[in-house]
Symmetry: C2
Subunit: 147 residues, 2 copies
Amino acid sequence: MRTVEAILEAMHERGCRVTGPRRVIVEFVLEQCEPFSAEDVFRALRRVQQTIGRATVFRTLDLLAELGVVERVHHPSGTHRYVVSSDGHRHHVVCIRCGRVAEFSGCNLEPILASIADQTRFRILDHWLELSGLCQTCQGETMAVSR
Amino acid sequence: MRTVEAILEAMHERGCRVTGPRRVIVEFVLEQCEPFSAEDVFRALRRVQQTIGRATVFRTLDLLAELGVVERVHHPSGTHRYVVSSDGHRHHVVCIRCGRVAEFSGCNLEPILASIADQTRFRILDHWLELSGLCQTCQGETMAVSR
DNA sequence: GATTAGTTGATACTGAGTATCATAAGGAGC
DNA sequence: GCTCCTTATGATACTCAGTATCAACTAATC
Ligand SMILES: [Mn+2]
Ligand SMILES: [Mn+2]
Ligand SMILES: [Zn+2]
Ligand SMILES: [Zn+2]
């Protein structure tokens, strides 16, 4: 897992400047273990540092996505959510009840992708796999409540 | 592949009314072989039937998604696109250059999903797999232009 | 410390999608 | 075909996420 300093250093190496707002946003983002929206970040940081601008939040999240620090995940509402990404290629399972997210590795889609490339004549460059279901906690509660 | 009449009949059986606007929208939608936005539908139909309302287009696309006639696919811009779905469970590959879409069947994710359920303790209820790459045509053109 | 290019945030804007509501029209039953 | 009731429509106004603009500011390099 990456540290605030390492991420700011990566920004610096990229030719970006290390600013107050960027530092605060990175600190906040690294604390999140559930997916969050740009608005979540904005509202939370406004309480800490009243001057921060909405546009800066969007811009910094774009930058963090480019750096691979966060990943954009799709939300059915059509708006973007972000999750802090571990190192390496990962995917997510989202709990449809409480919003909890679990990562998993080793998606091993390669054989499937090869067969699809064959079937469709496309050259597959990227894939996006998102799963949804019930986390362990919510499996129990759903049974208790609705059965 | 479903016909306009079969879809309108399905609406009727569901307790919905078969109206002029719905008929026109269904006719238009079934002609599409690439993903389209609600706005695409609205603009195209305005030329044919000036009175059609934007809200009706959104509402009818919602209805068609519920009926399984179209599927919502995610567009990186964050807005929704729709594709006409064939029968059965399918997924899509989108060409990042020309927007062409190919469907494929037999995703056979079950073994992978089982291992993920095991790994994360989630009960997996749904999956969403979207691939992107280059269609056969664009593979040729990309090489011709950029190499 | 002076210089300069990148960054910020206030403001205004865009564009997708939704809420409202008076009016229009489908369809079941007669 | 006509009645009656319920659903659907579309004009309008609105919300909300995200973006463009731009003058003021500031991090980094020398
Ligand atoms: Mn993967
Ligand atoms: Mn599948
Ligand atoms: Zn849960
Ligand atoms: Zn293509």
